[in-house]
Symmetry: C2
Subunit: 308 residues, 2 copies
């Protein structure tokens, strides 16, 4: 799927071992983390360079999966002094809400992302959900301003690192966040008003992730695009859906090197495609080993789902 002129795509974010409990199943050592889901979703589209940290307990098999997917792990720090970031959560009956049962930052707590020289020239960069100060630090490590910088964040940083977050926002092109986060960030109750405010803070493109309801994209030319999520009978584990979405989204833009409104719309569908695979298995099980036919078939299903 990667075009010959694909651009390299750097992602910085968490690498984790999750303990995921759903109403019907459970996986205790489920490899996750935003950077992992992002990389597994983007790598069928474009070469990914990952920045993150793991402890001595991180499964070697997962490193193998990432390598086989063509993910560059030069930027993955191996910290033998501690355990990998661990998260434990339980999904509700409807699979849309979840409770966090435990969070152990472990080696992620003092993580200071260091970009290998080979990453610093890359034209596409995604700052997954980590402290805004670290996101700024990564931006500063780039040899030059990338062509496209994407950002994710969370309620915690909106609360406790608001000013730093505003600093990052002013320096990015795309913000991809959840609906609730968009409202929280702007103290708004209406999503369109929230979107207008956010785009004044920096990012010209705003992608609102709405889980099973799809995504809403306020694009570079002020165009508004709405995409559904693929209705699925077999949602196994929603963990990582948003990060997989971001991976498909950024992956398409990096692969084509085009960031106009039309390509951004397609990117939303590529994001939705990857998210739909993600939730059909635990961890990145269903993202691993996707063929070109698989992903083009699912993309085509979105065409069918939305045409009128």
């Amino acid at each position: 799927m990667s075009d010959q002129n694909s651009n390299k795509l750097v992602v910085v974010g968490s690498v984790a071992v999750d303990w995921v409990i759903t109403p019907t199943a459970e996986r205790e050592e489920s490899v996750g983390g935003a950077a992992v889901f992002f990389a597994m979703a983007a790598s069928p589209l474009t070469p990914v360079q990952l920045v993150g940290v793991v402890g001595h307990d991180f499964p070697a098999a997962a490193l193998g999966d990432l390598e086989r997917a063509g993910v560059d792990l030069d930027g993955l720090e191996r910290n033998s002094d501690g355990l990998t970031f661990r998260w434990k959560g339980r999904y509700h009956e409807n699979m849309n809400q979840r409770d966090t049962l435990e969070t152990h930052l472990n080696v992620f707590e003092n993580f200071s992302p260091r970009l290998p020289p080979s990453y610093r020239e890359s034209e596409f960069l995604f700052l997954a959900n980590i402290q805004p100060s670290l996101q700024l630090d990564v931006l500063d490590q780039m040899a030059k301003r990338p062509r496209l910088v994407g950002l994710d964040t969370m309620n915690l940083w909106i609360d406790i690192a608001h000013d730093k977050l505003l600093e990052v926002l002013a320096r990015v092109d795309v913000l991809a966040i959840n609906e609730e986060e968009a409202l929280q960030l702007t103290s708004e109750t209406n999503l369109v008003r929230a979107a207008n405010k956010i785009r004044e803070l920096g990012p010209k493109t705003l992608v609102i992730k709405r889980g099973e309801y799809g995504a809403l994209c306020f694009g570079p030319d002020n165009a508004l695009f709405a995409a559904p999520a693929m209705p699925l009978e077999d949602v196994v584990d929603p963990t990582g859906a948003g990060d997989s979405f971001a991976g498909g989204f950024m992956g398409h833009l990096a692969r084509t090197g085009e960031i106009t409104d039309d390509y951004v719309r397609q990117a939303v569908i590529w994001g939705s495609t990857m998210a739909s695979y993600c939730v059909q298995g635990f961890s990145y099980d269903q993202l691993r080993g996707l063929s070109r036919e698989d992903i083009e078939g699912r993309y085509q299903s979105f065409v069918e789902l939305t045409r009128f």
Copy 2:
């Protein structure tokens, strides 16, 4: 907008005077009811014949609005012995949830729909949300089985009139209900599984209304169609959005006389178009007097919103 060969569309349902309170405004005598919203939304598309009941307090101006919209009121019973059905509700800050503060059935309590002879030959029928036994009664009054019968219902009837509801379901072509109602009706937590079960109960076409998230349609050829709601900055009053959706949906099918998958998809967009106007004002304020240009312009906005 009405084509020369438009089909007449009968709607049976509530006619009400609501007291609507939103976080920023309030209207004490807000004409509403499922049949009214449905009729005001469908009438720009096809001739509507309304069946319902009002009391002596129902505003004459509203009757005038319906008449000017071309709605046939021969089937509207005027009961001078009592008050019109009244509902009072308050919307939450996000405008998506609401609390019912008061419900007074008044003349609606002993309503027994009676179809004028001129209605009984109509080819398109929508049974808005009333007791399933009355819906059955209306079906039996039709001279022959209409070409297309649509149905709405609510959690109350799913709870207390389950068997009667199943009887109606077996006799209709389209069910248009809310997401929560679809799950409740089937005791399912997954919407796709719920949809499959519902379609085994009778209706070949199922439209799941998801409020600000749009609609999902399981169509006559097993095709799945997802449509967003129009993101709006100025939601004034969501009351009647679902009924307006149903009006636009059924109105398009009656107008064209076509009920294939392609027309059902367009019908969902016409429903979304009418719902988007409905919520931009109190009562049917924004549905009243819509020009052909207005509605075709909004339909075109949906094309723009969803294309990729």
